[in-house]
């Protein structure tokens, strides 16, 4: 008899969902969560809310967006075969004040090594260190994805007599004071995510998230006929480097004739992504394109269409080998923007330049290539593990491919 109440409760809950469902049966579900504050600054970008992309992200900054999109067509300066040494439109700064004699002790505060991208990057950075005899030691601390640990890591490293400090911040705002504190004592090099201060000698990054998101979205706008149904898959909300990717895609979709039928979060989980795609195929009969803010679950998405007995529509991914292989084997219509792991080489190179008193760019914008059907063969490496990132720039380094898990 005790089951009678759960029945009533469940029935009541069901009614609520059903009623709620009728009033919110629009696909603009997921981005609306925390947008209020940013609405004003982004009004210009959200002219066509009817396309189903929701409100613009509060992380969207029009000037950065414009700058990044412009950088895509600019030619980078530097050696053509070493993109990790190239810089787009560099504004050089003098580093004479940091000049000192070697050997050098470098320190590195790493946000985390908890995903394949950071794994590949970290191996690449260590290999770069091994290339330079003038580096006597690299002391690295892993913050394990925790802001508080990284703050104490940074102060701990200052006591170790480092000649230069490299920081890959876990989050932007929280790490800013810690980086500021270190700036006065040693030359600081920041890469990957930024900080809200210009005190580091140089900030190294690929062009950025807007360019990534726009590259992927523009491909779909080109390949999918007007009115086509697009599903956007994101990892999680509120992460600046991912928000920029989506917000640039949103701008592109809003200006197109495409219909974004859903924006969903996958948590980077393949099973979840596959389930979501499955649901959307059932709900809409078909999908004409899938936009993704990262490639971790791209293969699962392609498989969802296969398992439903449908051709895989134009879709986007990243430079992970499993997706490139799937793309090649099944002849997908795809594009893979990248956030190159070769950027992990640059901080070491920059540190040595600074300690030798050579000029470095204040903001070191690395080129950010995209993989297309034309250059796919160049990046597909069958001997590398499925989660290896093709743009590691590590092919010529000692220990390749074994150190990166290849055969």
């Amino acid at each position: 008899m005790r089951f009678r109440r759960p029945l009533i409760l469940a029935a009541a809950a069901l009614t609520v969902f059903a009623v709620g469902g009728c009033t919110s049966d629009k696909p603009s579900t997921t981005t609306a969560a925390d947008t209020g504050a940013g609405a004003a600054q982004t009004a210009a970008a959200s002219t066509a809310p009817a396309s189903g992309t929701g409100e613009q992200s509060k992380f969207f900054v029009q000037a950065d967006y414009d700058a990044q999109l412009a950088m895509r067509s600019q030619t980078a300066e530097g050696p053509a075969d070493k993109p990790w040494e190239q810089a787009i439109a560099p504004q050089m700064v003098s580093t004479a004040e940091y000049k000192k004699d070697g050997p050098y002790h470098l320190c590195f505060s790493n946000a985390a090594v908890d995903n394949p991208w950071r794994q590949v990057g970290w191996k690449t950075m260590q290999a770069e260190v091994a290339l330079h005899k003038e580096i006597s030691e690299l002391t690295a601390l892993d913050a394990e994805g925790k802001d508080d640990k990284q703050i104490s890591d940074i102060s701990e490293l200052q006591a170790k007599g480092c000649d230069a400090l490299i920081v890959s911040p876990n989050t932007t705002a929280t790490l800013t004071p810690a980086v500021k504190g270190a700036c006065g004592k040693v030359p600081v090099i920041v890469f990957d995510r930024g900080v809200e201060t210009d005190c580091p000698v140089t900030f190294i990054k690929p062009i950025g998230g807007y360019a990534f998101g726009a590259d992927a979205a523009e491909f779909l706008v080109e390949k999918v006929p007007a009115g086509g149904k697009i599903l956007a898959l994101r990892i999680s909300p509120g992460v600046d480097v991912l928000e920029t990717r989506w917000s640039a895609a949103k701008v592109a979709f809003d200006a197109s004739g495409l219909q974004v039928v859903g924006v969903e979060f996958t948590d980077g989980d393949a099973a979840k992504a596959k389930g979501i795609v499955n649901d959307y195929i059932q709900r809409h009969g078909k999908l004409d394109g899938v936009w993704m803010d990262s490639g971790a679950t791209s293969v699962a998405v392609a498989e969802a269409f296969e398992d439903a007995g449908m051709p895989v529509p134009p879709m986007t991914g990243e430079d992970q080998q499993d997706f490139l292989r799937k793309w090649k084997d099944d002849g997908l219509t795809a594009v893979a923007p990248t956030y190159p792991t070769y950027q992990w080489r640059t901080p070491i190179i920059a540190a040595l330049k600074i300690l030798k008193g050579e000029e470095v760019p204040k903001t070191w914008n690395l080129p950010q290539p995209k993989i297309t059907a034309e250059n796919l063969d160049r990046y597909l490496q069958p001997n590398m593990p499925p989660l290896h990132y093709a743009l590691c720039g590590c092919e010529g380094m000692p220990g390749f491919p074994e150190k990166w898990g290849g055969k």
């Binding site: 008899m1 005790r2 469940a10 969902f17 649901d279 699962a300 593990p385």
Partner: protein, 313 residues
Amino acid sequence: MRRALPILVVLAVLLAAIAIVNPFFIEPAGFLSFVRRAAPLVILAAGQYLVIVAGEFDLSVGSLVTVEVVVAARLIDGDEAATWPVLALLIVLGLVVGLVNGAVTTLLRVPSFITTLGMMLVLSGAVFLWTGGAPRGALSQAFRMFGRQTGWAVLILVVVAVAAVVLMRANFGRTLIAVGDNERAAALSGVRVTRVRIIAFTLSGLSAAVAGILLGGFAGVSAQVGQGLEFQAITAVVLGGVVLGGGRGTVVAAMAGAFTLEALFTLLNLYGVSGALKFTVQGVILIAAVAAGAIRLPFLDAPKVKGDAHAVS
């Protein structure tokens, strides 16, 4: 069966609601794909039921699923020939982890909440240490067949469900419920309490191994695959009206609870409710179901609810 009725009614209502929004759902292909997707959770719920009805918890199943998938990928590494030996190894691994949980809980008298919480941390730490957060290797096509091909997944689910029902109807099932209902009474009437509980944990480990094989097959290698599954399984069992603390509820209701939870998630998705709300819904259900189970209106209470538990001896 009568006890499973309320949750079956809720399930039927939810399925009907899904069918209204998405007519494809009633077609065999659509429904089977739903069953396939629910299969891992249903199997986990069956395993979790055995532990819960005996008065314990198993919080380690989620990370055990992750371990199974990551180990499988690393050992198979794309080699078709390695599929069957590795499958056997995964089953053994699940059984061993369950056995350890059971032995620590019963023989060392560590509360199962702590034992399995510790096991969860040990396993997720071990996975992280071994993979560094980036799983290596790849699963073979033969391995993936079980989770990817609807027929296989449904077949495995049916086998597990039938086995669970048969097990609960057999002597073992009665003693298990007796142990959960009143450990001392069961012991006095000759039930080997320790052994029964260890078997329950071992079978829960086995269910995690099978669920891991299905999930790995469904979507491939991922270090997040098992995240939160233990709570989904517990929610499902509770939703089926199984009382935490043991002694009450049927395995059919627990598995129906898992289907209901999956149906609810599907429905939310069909209505375009954000994925973030999934956790909220899960939490509300968990609390509501337990609260509803605890409130017992005297005039509705049938006098002989406890009867079968004591009939064992």
